[in-house]
Symmetry: C2
Subunit: 262 residues, 2 copies
């Protein structure tokens, strides 16, 4: 494994815990991305349970942003069942609890024709017609180092139709998407709030991701939508389709909304 | 307090834990409803943290359904901050772990004009023109005792437009809605899957609720939507508006889908 796989590896420490190394490359403004941290927790949960290989649901609360460098993950298996295993996992750094998450693990199949789906995937221009988002966005002081590690291509022409929504593609350069990297994909788009003229900082408080199927090889189609922006909080819904147009992941997050300095 | 308030009380046991009494009236087929259990966990979380009075986010995994009767709740405060406190809570019965949840607690204000909202509340016929759902649904063997404890009124004429969606009202007979009872409301509608001709059992694996504002007095307007139903799982989105038409809660749940016996 290389790239995302190597950057999210965990090593069992023998006492039921895991060590991880938070990679400085998978960061936003120098801090590890929330979906990246959720993927690390998932690897520890899967390694600890050893019964079911895939995350079906992952729900995390973000307590304190860790820095790149060593971190520890502790895991508690809550229930082992025939079709699902449920696990609690906690990421700490220097005895500070940074993220805690609850997982339902199971065994996913490739996406098949659903019994029912509410909507077709949204139209997005072909990935090669959209420019890749740079790590250093023009006109901002923020450096998003992780954007050098994968391709994020956003349909900027489509912004505003409808308002509050971003659509585009995600591609890992060196590996196909899998259920664990889908947890990362669910938090890899910019906040949709800035399509609303709201450039505030949106630190995630809670992120829930459902992984619905093994993705087909190829890029992911992503739609990120804001639903309600108040003076203090915003929720966003992220929906992800594989290259065959099947729903493979669905996420929701609640973030604090902080106005930018005037 | 009476009704829902009394049925969700918790008592501190002095060792940092809480006792609860799971009420046989707030059940579906004899088992306590999942949103009802989440409300009990929230009361313990709020009681333990004593810093912030309202749940902003609640994410639960359902491990094993408890029976009516005594239960215990253990709570761990993960982080206490100025604007939010984050807490882990676990409900056990006879040493069996039944539900575990992560909470973000804060202080909610009454719903105000948002900076941005994606859509107006859906039209629903006036509550007094819709019949109240009975506890014993005609033609089914299932008894939903909790439906005697609150008013659920569903727009049956509107089912099918669009497919996969249920709309209606919820009212508590003896108390206004509050942030904790909104956690219950987010799981108080029938599965939208049965509008799709799918009558399978849908036990919840994961439920996440965001409470966005203090609700105005009056009934809640509810929309429950299925998004993707496969042979084995379904996700549902529940959106809740107060009597003034403001978004007050948003929920998503992942449930197993089990075909009914042929």
């Amino acid at each position: 494994m290389a790239g995302f796989g190597a950057a999210t590896q965990v090593r069992a420490t023998g006492d039921g815990g895991f060590d991880a190394e938070l990679d400085p490359l998978w960061t936003v403004g120098g801090k590890p991305n929330g979906g990246y941290l959720l993927a690390i927790l998932a690897r520890a949960a899967i390694g600890s349970a050893a019964t079911h290989p895939d995350p079906l649901s992952a729900s995390a609360v973000y307590l304190s942003p860790p820095d790149p460098g060593p971190a520890a993950v502790t895991v508690e298996v809550l229930r082992t069942g025939r079709s699902a295993t449920q696990v609690r996992a906690r990421l700490t750094q220097k005895d500070r609890t940074c993220v805690e998450a609850l997982f339902t693990l199971g065994t996913l199949a490739a996406a098949a024709a659903p019994r029912w789906v509410d909507a077709a995937p949204p139209p997005v221009p072909a990935a090669d017609t959209l420019s890749r988002t740079p790590a250093q966005a023009p006109g901002t002081g923020l450096r998003i180092d992780m954007l050098d590690q994968f391709e994020q291509r956003i349909d900027w022409q489509g912004v505003g139709d409808p308002p509050g929504e971003l659509r585009g593609w995600l591609r890992l350069p060196d590996a196909p998407w899998d259920p664990v990297s889908l947890l990362f994909a669910a938090d890899a788009f910019p906040p949709a709030t800035f399509t609303l003229g709201s450039n505030g900082w949106t630190p995630t408080l809670e992120l829930t991701v459902y992984v619905r199927a093994l993705p087909a090889p190829g890029p992911l189609r992503v739609r990120q939508r804001a639903r309600l922006l108040t003076d203090t909080f915003v929720d966003q819904v992220c929906e992800i389709w594989d290259a065959d147009g099947r729903v493979v992941a669905q996420a929701t997050q609640l973030a604090a909304y902080r106005m930018p300095p005037a």
